[in-house]
Symmetry: D2
C-alpha cells in the first residue's frame, strides 16, 4: 500500500515536532515537505529545530531542508495534505492559500475553528461535521481544486469533549463547570518561563476559557444545511497553568437533562467506541485508541504521571465520578495535550478524512471511493 | 505588660513548627510548655523535631524538653492556654482532657470543628460564634474550671471564607463552586511523597471536599441559643494537590441572592475590615492583617510565588473577578495554608479570645474583664 | 524455547515493580513466584502494591498472591532463579537462605556487594568476575545445591562505570572526581518527602558516596584465584539529590595513566560493544543495548528529560567531554537509575548468567552447556 | 544624615528588581534615576517591568519614569553613583560612558570584570583591590571627573570565594574542584524555559565555568602597582542548572598548601569577620552580614529551601566538611545568587566604597574623607 505524501506547516514548533514523531512511521502518510518561517527556511530541520521530545529526531527528517511556507514556493512538490500548527495570526493568512492551492489543510490552529463552514472535529465525537467541507469548498471557490480546511479543537476542549460526548448522547448535558490544571507544553517553546511556574500556579491562560466554552458547544452541536448549531450547553471554565510537563487535568461538574445513575454514566463511557463500528467500512484508524475514554477507579486517579500515555496518548482517563451538590455529577479527567490535544488530534482527523474519501485521490487504497460522509454520520 | 503562658500540643509537626515561629516573639503569649507523643517526650525539641521552616529554630525552644501530652503529666506547669495541632484521632482523645483540666484549647484539628457547641471561628468572619463557649462549658461540665475548645477551619475553608464573608453580608450567597490547587505542606511531614507530586497533580485529598463544604456553611451561619445554624449556601468542591510548597489556590464561581456589580464586589472586599472597628475596644490583634482580603488586578494573579506572604501570610489575595456563564461571578483566591490556614488562624483565635476576656484571668491587661462577646458580634 | 521460572523478593517496592515491568514479557524468564514481607503475604499483588510506573500493571501479575519470603514457605514452587530488591538488612538475612536452598540469587541489594567471593557485576564491564561463583559455592557449602549470590552495583556506580570501562582498558584511570545529581526514585517509595525536594537540592544521600567510591574500584578490578583485586583508582564522590523523577546525572573529572586525545576517548566509547562479540557464543542478551555508552554532542546534553529512555533505559549517555584544568578530561554522564541502575542491571546479569551456563539446568536452551566463564572473560 | 542619590542601569531586569528591593529603604542611598532600554524609556517603572519578587513593588518606584540609558540624556539629573545590571555587550558600551561622565559605576555585569585595572571585589575578600581605582582613572582619563568602574563577580564565584578566603589566608589553596547546581533566576527573566528545567537538570551554562575559574583566582590574588596578580590556585568547574528558583549549591574539593584539621577549617570560617574590625573606622556596612560564612552541622545541609535567607541573603552557608580521597577536604556551600551573588554584592561594594571615601563628596557623612584604601587593606 502506497503512503500519501504530506507536509507540515510550522514544523519546528512543539506541535510540529509531535507531528513528526507521530507521522514518521505512519502507515498511511509519508512526510515529504516541511515548511517554516522565513528565518528558518533553507536550513535543515536539525539546524533549525530545538528538538524537545524524548524520542530521537528521525535521521531522515533531520536532514530535510525547510521550505518557505507558501504553496507557490513549493511548486510541484506541494503535497495535497498539509498539517498546520502555526500560530493563529499566521494560520489566518497562510491556511487559505494552501486550501486555494488544492490542499486539504488539517489544522491545529485556532484561527478558523469557529468558522461558519469550517468543521471543528474530534472523530469520535462529531465526524459527521466533515460533511460541511462541501459547503466550504462551494463558498470559498475551492471546489475545483478540492482544497479545504479542517480543524481540531483546543487541547483542553478535546480532553473534555470525549467523556462528554456519550453523556450528551444518552442523557443530554445542560450545564457544565470545568476547572483546568494545564501543562506547560501547551504554551509551546520557550513558552512559560521557569521563574513563573516552578513551585507555582498561574491562574490564567490567555483566551483559553473562551475557547473551551465555545468549542465544546460547537463540538457537541450539529451540522446541518443551514450551518453549525451549537449544542444548548452552558459552560463556565476556569483555566490554570501548573508545573506539569505534559497533560491537562480537568475538574468537571455537570447537570444532565435526564437523570443518570453512576453505573449508567460508567456504562456510557465503557461502551463509547464510536470508531469501532461498521460505519467506517470496517477500517481501523491507526491513531484511534480502542477506548477513547477509560475510567480509573482509584481515588487518586487520573494523574499526569501515571495516565499520560494511556492509549498511546490518545485516551482520556476519567476518575472520581461522584455526586455533585450543585449539579448532578462531578468527575476529573486527564488528557495528553500535545498528542490527543494537538498533533494526534490532527493526525486522527486526517485518518478519518482518508477513510471517508475526503482525500479523493483515486489511488488511495484503504477506502472504497464511493464511501460518502452521509453514511458515516450515523456511525 | 506580662505575657500569658501558653503550651503547644503536637509541637514538632509542621503546624507545631509554625506555632513556634509565630508565637516565639508574640507580644501577648509566651511558650512555656511543649508536648509531643510518647516517642518524643523527654527529648529536647531540637532532638525530636525535623525543623522545616526557612527561619531558624529559636535557641530557647531548641533546648526545651518535650513533655508527655496529658494534663496530669504537666501538673502545675500546665499552661491555661493550649494550642493544638495533633491529628484528629488524637485530638478527639486529648483535647477534652485539657479542656476538663481548665485549659482554653485553641485547636487546629478537625476533630471537634463540627461539634454542636464548639465554635469554628475565623475572627474576621464569625467571632460572635465564640459566645457558644458558654453552652459548651455548661454541657461538658467544665464551667468551674473554665476550660473549653475553640477550633479554626480547614486550611482551604479559611482562605475561601474570607472573601465570601463580605459578599454574604451584602448580597447573600446561594451557591458556590470551588476547585482547589493545594500545597503539599498541608499534608504535613513527610506527607506527600515526591514520587507522587513532582511534575504531577493528584486530584484527591482525603475528606477535604467534605470538610470544605460543611465548614463554609457553619462559618457563614449563625450561633443562637439553640445552636449553630449553617448558612443556606450550597457548596460543591473539587480538591487537588499540586507541586506547590505553601499556599492554596482556589477557583470559585458564586451565585448571589441579590445582584451585585463588579465594582460592588470589589468594594465589599476593599471595605472589609471587620477587626478594625470599635467593637474590640480599640485593640489591634497583633496577627490580624490590616486588610484580610486584597484584590490583585493583574490577569495572572494571585500566584503562590508572588502572593504568599501578603499580610505576613494572613491576607487572602483575590484576583480575576469576571462574570460566570453559569452563576454570577467567578474569581480566583490564594491563601497561605500553614499560616492563615492553620497556625496563624489559631493564634488569631487566641488573640480575639484574649481581647474578649475569654482568658478571664484577672491580670490579663489588654481587655476589660466585663467585655462580653455580645458586644463584639456587632463589630 | 521454554522460559525459565523466576521469582522476585521484594516485589512490591519501586525496584520490584521495575522487575515486573522488565520481566513480564521477557523471552527467557517467566515470573512464577512473588514474595513480600509478612505484612503483605497472602494479598494479591494488586492489593499490596502501590503501582507507580507509567505502564499498566500486567493483569496476570495483579492477581498473583504474594508469598512469604522464605524458601521453606515456597516449597516445590520455589524457582531456581530469584531476583532480589529488598533492603540491605533484610537481604543480609534472606539472600543466603535462598542461595542455600539452591537458588541463583540475582540481587540489587547492597548487602553482599563487597563480599570477598560475591561477584559485583555489570556485564559489559566485568562479567569475568562471575567465575568467582565457584569459590563462593565452595566456601559457603552450596556447591551441591548450586545456589549462589550475584550482585549489581549501586545505581550511581553503574552509570559511571560504563563510560569508565573502555577508558580503563585503553588508557588506565588513576583518579576520578564525581559529583552526582540523583533522582528521587532512587530512594524508593514513599522515599523523599516532597517538602524536602520541591525547588530544592539535598546535598546528602546516606552511604552513597562510600558505595560509589568502593564499588567502582571493585568493578574495574580483577577477579583472581586469591580474590578480587580492586583497581588502583582513587575516587572522590559528592552525592546530591535533585528534583528529578528518574535518572542520575554525574559530573566527572578523570586523570588517566596514559595520555588520550578527545578523539581517542570518543573512539573508546564509540567502539565499546563488549557484549556484541563472539565470546557469548553469538547470542544477544535481550536487555543489552547495542551501544552501552552513547555520546551526545550538543552542549546541553545529557539531560534527564531527553536521554532517559536511550537504549530502553539501559544506555549511559555521555556529553560535554572537554579538558579539565586539574586532571585530564571532564565530562557529564546520565543513566536511568531504576532500569540500568537497578532492575535492568539485575535482569542483564541474569541474562549473562544464562548464556554462561550458570543456570546449568540441562534444559535451558540458549547456551551450549559446556560454555565456561573462562572463555568469556576475554570477550 | 543625608542619603546619596543613586541610579540604576537595567532597572527592570531580575537583578534590577533586586537593586530596587535592596536600595529602596537603604540608609545611605536614595534611588533618584532609573534607566532602561529605548523600548522602555518613557514608560513608568510599573508599566515597563514584570515585577517578579515576592515583596511588593514600592509605590514610589512604580510611578517613576524610566529614562534613556545615556549620561547625556540624564543631564543634571545624573546621579554620581550608578548601579548597573545590563547584559555584558551593553555594559561594554554604556558603562565607560557613565564613568567618563564622572559616575562611580558599580557593576554586576561581566563585561569588565577581568579588566587590567578594574577591581573585581567582594568586600570581605579583597576590598584592598579598590586601590586600583586610581590606576583606572589615570589610564582612562577620568581622573578629573572622578568616574570609575568597580565590578562584583559572577554569582557562583561569590558564594564560593567567601569560604575560600579564610582558608587561603591561613592555609593557602592549591587546587579546587567545584561542581555547581545553580538556580534558574541566575538566567534572568524569561530566562530558562520551563520545558527545559521541570524535572530536569541542564549540565551547561554558557561561559559560566570559565568565569568561575578565572574570577576566583583574581579575587584571591593581589593588587599591586604593576596590576592584579591572580592567586596560584587551579580551579576546575562543572556548572549545572537545576530546578531551584533562587540559590546556588556548590560541591567543593580543595587541596591546601599547609595541612589543616577539620577543627582548624571550622575555626577559620567561624572567625572570619573581616568587616567587623577597626579598619573600616568602626563603621558597620548595612548589608554586611555579621558572619559572611556560617557552618550548618547537619548532614543534609545546606539546602536552598532552608538556608536561602541566612544573613538576609548575604551569608554563604557551608556544610558537610569531610575528608576528600583525592585532595584534602570536601564540603558543600550554598549562596543566594541574586542577593549575595548579584544585587546585594553590588550594594555591599557601594557601601564599602562609601566608607573608604571613594564617593569623595565632601558632604557624605559616615566616613572621614582622609581614609585611604591602604589602611583598609590590612583589615
Amino acid at each position: 500500500m502506497e503512503r500519501r505524501n504530506v507536509g507540515i506547516l510550522g514544523a519546528t514548533g512543539m506541535v510540529g515536532q509531535r507531528f513528526i514523531q507521530l507521522l514518521e512511521n505512519h502507515p498511511w502518510f509519508n512526510i515529504t515537505w516541511l515548511a517554516a518561517s522565513d528565518r528558518s527556511a533553507g536550513k535543515t530541520y536539525a539546524e533549525a529545530c530545538a528538538w524537545r521530545l524524548d524520542t530521537p529526531l528521525p535521521e531522515r527528517i533531520a536532514g530535510m531542508v525547510l521550505q518557505p511556507n507558501t504553496p507557490a514556493a513549493a511548486g510541484p512538490d506541494l503535497p495535497r495534505i498539509v498539517f498546520s500548527s502555526v500560530d493563529a495570526p499566521i494560520a489566518r493568512e497562510l491556511e487559505p492559500l494552501f486550501a486555494a492551492a488544492g490542499c486539504a489543510v488539517i489544522s491545529n490552529s485556532s484561527a478558523f475553528r469557529m468558522g461558519a463552514d469550517v468543521p471543528l472535529v474530534v472523530p469520535e465525537v462529531n465526524h459527521g461535521h466533515l460533511a460541511m467541507i462541501e459547503q466550504q469548498t462551494t463558498r470559498s471557490g475551492t471546489k475545483a481544486s478540492g482544497g479545504y480546511i479542517v480543524t481540531n479543537p483546543n487541547c483542553s476542549a478535546i480532553g473534555l469533549v470525549l467523556p462528554l460526548a456519550p453523556l450528551e448522547a444518552r442523557f443530554g448535558i445542560e450545564k457544565l463547570f470545568v476547572s483546568t490544571m494545564q501543562a506547560v507544553s501547551g504554551a509551546g517553546y520557550p513558552g512559560v518561563a521557569s521563574l513563573d511556574i516552578l513551585g507555582n500556579v498561574i491562574p490564567y491562560i490567555k483566551n483559553e476559557e473562551e475557547k473551551l466554552q465555545e468549542e465544546v458547544a460547537k463540538l457537541l452541536g450539529s451540522a446541518t444545511i443551514s450551518g453549525f448549531q451549537p449544542a444548548p450547553v452552558t459552560v463556565s471554565a476556569h483555566c490554570n497553568r501548573v508545573a506539569v510537563l505534559e497533560g491537562h487535568t480537568e475538574c468537571v461538574s455537570i447537570k444532565l437533562r435526564k437523570p443518570a445513575t453512576q453505573e449508567q454514566i460508567l456504562g456510557a463511557w465503557r461502551e463509547f467506541q464510536p470508531l469501532q463500528g461498521k460505519g467506517l467500512n470496517g477500517l481501523h484508524l491507526p491513531s484511534a485508541p480502542l477506548f477513547p475514554v477509560e475510567y480509573a477507579p482509584e481515588d487518586t486517579r487520573p494523574q499526569p504521571r501515571l495516565d499520560l500515555m494511556r492509549g498511546n496518548g490518545m485516551t482520556t482517563t476519567v476518575g472520581r465520578l461522584r455526586p455533585c451538590n450543585l449539579f448532578d455529577w462531578k468527575f476529573t479527567l486527564f488528557s495528553h495535550n500535545t498528542i490527543r490535544g494537538a498533533a494526534g488530534a490532527a493526525v486522527l482527523n486526517a485518518e478519518i478524512l482518508a477513510v471517508m474519501g475526503k482525500f479523493d485521490f483515486r489511488d488511495f487504497p484503504p477506502v472504497a471511493s464511493g464511501a460518502s460522509s452521509a453514511e458515516l454520520i450515523s456511525a
